[in-house]
């Protein structure tokens, strides 16, 4: 009985502690004024973004990114972030690993370590408007913060332009945009008859499918294919959900012309429904790198996806 009493006490203590943490989180300073960064001199720019407007003085040099697409955009502009957030074992997207080497790891992108961010002494933080909504004020307290949506491919391109403008890399940003748009135009001309395509992850019992509004979905639509999954999943607390679940039966109903697959394709190779898919019969199922096709996001990822996908979509390579 005594044991239970003390257990109950412990439980009560834990609850109180949790409550207290939440309270302090709520009452944290409402200061939206960014701290003065004395190192930077120069004209003050006002940057409009999802969370409102942020005034930035001079050209930031120490940038911290809190999501993967921003690393891609900065790398494309030739700017190395001083710090970045990742998730689990993944810190830098694999396809960027050889171009981004020195940085401070500031923790999980869902809940980045504010102390580490502060100690890196950044003069610009790039945040995800959904994922970092809860720590908006804290981030703005550390350094000027801009929140950029990175769901679709056109948003990513817009972000690149904005960052180029902000970081004094206007020419680079224009070049990145021009190159990518040229690539897309080229692809558009070569791809005939808007084939139905789908990008899915093959897993144990069903498939993960990227929705039409996702990065890969919009990119595929823009090069003139018909992205075949039109269902959506609505929004979650994590932000916009871009992946839905699809059973083999539904995949067979959609029956795309081209199927780009990451994950474990072997799980499905002997499934009669899978073998009956149009794409399988015509040899148009292509295994792709999950790090680029599923997790990649940004101008560099888009370019890599097009490089890999175009020869297949135009039939010049099987």
């Amino acid at each position: 009985m005594k044991l239970f009493k003390s257990k109950n006490l412990l439980f009560a203590a834990v609850i109180t502690l949790l409550g207290a943490t939440m309270l302090t989180g709520c009452t944290a300073t409402d200061k939206t004024e960014p701290q003065e960064q004395s190192a930077n001199q120069g004209p003050v720019k006002t940057i409009p973004h999802i969370w409102g407007e942020t005034e930035i003085q001079g050209t930031p040099t120490k940038v911290i990114t809190l999501d993967f697409s921003f690393v891609d955009e900065l790398t494309a502009l030739g700017v190395a972030p001083v710090g970045m957030a990742g998730t689990g074992a993944l810190r830098v997207p694999e396809y960027l690993a050889d171009r981004v080497k020195e940085y401070t790891y500031v923790g999980e992108r869902k809940e980045p370590n504010l102390e580490l961010i502060r100690s890196a002494n950044p003069d610009l933080i790039i945040a995800n408007p959904d994922r970092h909504k809860m720590i908006k004020n804290e981030l703005q307290d550390i350094a000027p913060t801009v929140a950029l949506d990175d769901t679709s491919y056109s948003e990513v391109l817009k972000n690149t332009e904005l960052l180029g403008d902000l970081l004094g890399k206007k020419a680079e940003a224009e070049q990145v945009k021009k190159d990518l748009e040229a690539k897309i135009q080229n692809a558009k001309q070569k791809i005939q008859g808007s084939p139905k395509v789908l990008v899915v992850g093959a897993f144990e019992d069903e498939f993960s499918v990227w929705v039409k509004d996702s990065f890969i979905g919009t990119l595929m639509s823009d090069v003139g294919t018909t992205y075949a999954f039109t269902g959506s999943k609505g929004t979650t607390s994590e932000g916009k959900s871009e992946v839905a679940k699809l059973t083999m039966e539904r995949l067979a109903e959609i029956n795309p012309d081209f199927l780009f697959v990451y994950g474990d394709l072997n799980l499905w190779k002997d499934n009669p429904l899978f073998k009956n898919l149009k794409a399988v019969k015509e040899g148009k199922v292509i295994e792709v790198d999950r790090n680029i096709w599923s997790r990649g996001r940004g101008p560099i990822a888009a370019s890599l996806i097009l490089d890999q996908g175009l020869p297949i979509l135009t039939g010049t390579k099987k």
Partner: protein
């Protein structure tokens, strides 16, 4: 006096056979519908050929290897979870007991997530099945200790069950937050799903569930005695501890098998026993079989709904049952307001 009670018995007996008949019919209809509705290219003319030789064509594969195992698994698990709910409510003498409410499902989820972190590179199917079963046994024993080694009132038992499920839940969430990339897929499993069910899953589930169900029906009169209260049951010569232990073991086998193949599906065990009791009264000899039948029907229906609500996206069946179960739980709490649970 005598005639009155025998008259009541007759009435509830006929209510019992009527409802058994009705729900058997309903279950069979729902099963039949779930097996064929919406199968691409299936027309009436195909129906006879479905029952002839096992052909290689896609339609009969869809029916026999995609739909049938899924529907049967749904029915079996629905029955198992409903029976487990009956058992839990009898043993704890608590009308709010359910694997979801008492933290048993969360214990299973926690162990699965931890095991995936440790052994994720191996054959995931077996890691999940093993870990889920062990998790159910673990959290089941914790609840058993809580329920019977201290003098808990039913209300406090539910509260401690909730506390434990929060505890397990927060550990699970913690792991998922820290290892998002590797554990993303498990979120879907944690919602409780029947998609992708195969004959192998059904076989695994049946190994434990069939004997546990038979035992449960055979012992149902013991639960009637147990429900009279511990002292009364002892007075009637029942070995209360033994019956409780057997019941706890049966609960672990039933829930463990269900969680192992389909993930945690909540609230079937909460809703169904109440519905069964409202039809046939509190005699467990009638409640248990009827609850099994109703549980099977409910889960098959819920899964059918899950396939079409957000078509073509799959909604895990556990979400559908939670949508039904949570309001029901609150309704039960409100109805019993003022009374000690």
């Amino acid at each position: 006096m005598y005639t009155e009670s025998s008259g009541r018995r007759e009435r509830s007996l006929s209510a019992f056979s009527l409802s058994i008949g009705f729900f058997s019919f309903l279950l069979l209809t729902v099963i039949a519908l779930s097996c064929v509705v919406g199968v691409t290219g299936l027309t009436w003319s195909h129906l006879p050929s479905l029952f002839t030789v096992l052909s290689d064509d896609v339609i009969s594969y869809t029916v026999w290897h995609v739909r049938v195992p899924r529907v049967l698994l749904g029915a079996v698990l629905g029955a198992a979870l409903a029976m487990a709910g009956c058992l839990m409510q009898a043993v704890t003498r608590n009308h709010l007991a359910d694997p979801e409410v008492m933290g048993i499902n969360q214990g299973a989820s926690m162990l699965v997530v931890i095991s995936l972190m440790l052994f994720g590179s191996q054959d995931i199917t077996w890691v999940i099945i093993g870990a889920a079963f062990v998790g159910v046994a673990l959290s089941g024993s914790v609840m058993y200790r809580l329920a019977f080694t201290s003098e808990y009132t039913p209300t406090r038992l539910v509260l401690s069950g909730l506390a434990i499920s929060f505890f397990f839940g927060s550990i699970t969430t913690g792991f998922i937050v820290l290892f998002e990339n590797d554990l993303m897929e498990i979120l879907y499993w944690m919602a409780g799903k029947l998609s992708g069910a195969s004959w192998a899953d059904l076989r695994i589930a049946l190994i434990g569930i069939i004997p546990a169900m038979v035992l449960c029906v055979l012992l149902s009169n013991q639960f009637n005695i147990l429900l009279l209260g511990e002292e009364m049951a002892r007075g009637l010569g029942q070995n209360v501890e033994r019956v409780r232990r057997i019941a706890a073991f049966l609960i672990i086998v039933l829930v463990g098998s269900a969680v192992a193949v389909a993930g945690p599906i909540g609230y079937v065990g909460l809703i169904v026993p109440h519905m069964a009791r409202s039809i046939v009264g509190s005699d467990y000899r009638k409640v248990v079989p009827l609850a099994a039948l109703m549980g099977a029907t409910l889960l098959v229906l819920a899964d059918l709904a899950g396939q079409w609500v957000l078509y073509p996206t799959e909604t895990p069946v556990g979400i559908i049952t939670a949508l039904l179960g949570t309001p029901f739980f609150i309704y039960l709490l409100r109805r019993r307001k003022g009374r000690i649970l």
